[in-house]
Symmetry: C2
Subunit: 362 residues, 2 copies
Amino acid sequence: MSILTRPILEINLINLEKNYRFLQNLAKGADAAAVVKDDAYGLGAEMIAETLYQNAGCRTFFVAHGIEGEKIRPYVPNAKIYVLQGIGEDSLASFEQAKLTPVIAGKEQLAFWKEHKINGIKPAIQIETGLNRLGFREQELAELTDEERNLFSMALSHLACADEQGHFMNEHQLQNFNRLREIYFPKLPASLSASDGTFLGANYRFDIVRLGAAMYGINTAPYRENQMLPVVSVKAPVLEISTLNRGDFVGYSATYRAADERKIAIVSIGYGDGIPRSLSNVGKLFFYNGGKTSEARIIGRISMDNIICDVSEVENLHVGDMAFVINEFYTLDDIGRDAGTIGYEVLSRIGKNQRFERRYLK
Amino acid sequence: MSILTRPILEINLINLEKNYRFLQNLAKGADAAAVVKDDAYGLGAEMIAETLYQNAGCRTFFVAHGIEGEKIRPYVPNAKIYVLQGIGEDSLASFEQAKLTPVIAGKEQLAFWKEHKINGIKPAIQIETGLNRLGFREQELAELTDEERNLFSMALSHLACADEQGHFMNEHQLQNFNRLREIYFPKLPASLSASDGTFLGANYRFDIVRLGAAMYGINTAPYRENQMLPVVSVKAPVLEISTLNRGDFVGYSATYRAADERKIAIVSIGYGDGIPRSLSNVGKLFFYNGGKTSEARIIGRISMDNIICDVSEVENLHVGDMAFVINEFYTLDDIGRDAGTIGYEVLSRIGKNQRFERRYLK
């Protein structure tokens, strides 16, 4: 028996690389760019970017913010780094220092760029095709001068519903994108799809696909079984095992009451470690013991540091044993669903917590 | 007009200190300990602990994990640091190095402590009184030897429903705590209440109150108006302003459709910055302009890096203007409610994101 207190986050860089290569192969002919924004969805942008650069030859990266690009630059010296949120006064120094390529999404940013151009950099242009988020609208494209259009090196847009095969928006946006780039940027390389769009077919892939979520193991094509290998697993030690008597309450606001005697385990992980509180009384943990996998339902409210689960059916459990919180049987996508959100948001929360003992498998 | 891209997190250390003093005064006679676990709920444990230690004379701190105690030790050299998750093989070195005081919550940890005692440290004991989380149950207390009972320097428990004045659990746990400590630890200093319990009355305060959430501005006594000053504010720049036509969709999965022409703003913050995705189509942002405060409803799904809001009623808005995401009119508690959770979880997410320009007001 070990007495342990810390949760453990394992990041499988071997599977990450395999996922990247799978997607690269799926998108053969297109440049397979890696999306490492939001600190590589919380997994550590430096480590992820370096792995893909060194081991898989990735030479194109996307981040959201200038500072994110600056952070990874030392690890990907000869790569092109696109910055999706564009450029501004508060990020200009990062662009200059790290030679980043802004994605310009509106006329105000374009005016800023014209004033602050960086030698040797030609920005990308974001074109709005139906998401109604960032990007030049058709009318604004029409107002660009020839000189302005010649400033750009790549044309990009983003799909709204690419995780739903056959959604009318996909075809609608594809047509819009083709129409607009043929009118305004017929000679530029183009990029429309993130992971989800990459699965929609060759006509969605263009010159660059932007691989993020799927590379990290999320099923971005949920209309069929996940083809990605898991990259993230989380486990946490059992701090205590106890018994509930009939009528006992559990956790904050007493939201669970035992209808008969139950065995419970208190596990050393909580929403302070990024586990969504909305899994309270809904989610589950897993135990592996002597070749057997047991499910333990989360009972009561998840608190900042602890989860309580019902281990009445778990045999041979000891204090210090590991409860599996994210694993192959309870994936980021499963947790997203049970927590009323998506795997992306769960992933983005997890890795930012300093209490994890963080292990990179490579 | 400024062109900006980064969200800004402001942490008001002056208000933090005022909140601490208010609570310290409310709990006069008790030691006002500061809870800085989970990186001080994401706000930066070193900075928060140092502020309270230097400016407000705080000499007792609570963290959850050994590594958290080790991290703050240099900033609070002569303070007592309690560790709520207890001690184990994976944290022993932190305890030894930083002279931390474990809160022992079960017999397995007690056995571990007896093997690995640290010179000059007397642990606290956690007593279970109704939360059914960590702590010695009554039967386990009865089994302690005299020698074991003498190992401890403080007796602690935790309330389940202290944010509900008059909840039957409060009185029930108070009676349990008094009964058990009088039998087993009649001479030890005692601690029952976190912020919420501190408001319940003098009989809940004992020798040490553990101040966390309220100190950070959360209303832990929601049955009356918040008496705390705000500590956290978040704002983010408008990247783009655009127009929706009747019938246009917005955001992922096209969950919003414009019933008539609307003006929208795309704001540079998202769930990757800790803003709950469950605020999609529910939450709001604020703009201050010429002495006027305007509300802008969040429309469509919140994405990792952006929020789209309806600014049809916001006058005189420009790209680069700041949208207020967390402010005095839309507090952590309000966001918790609208997002289907509590302010604690929102707070714990926000400060962990590296993309914020982080400003400490002091």
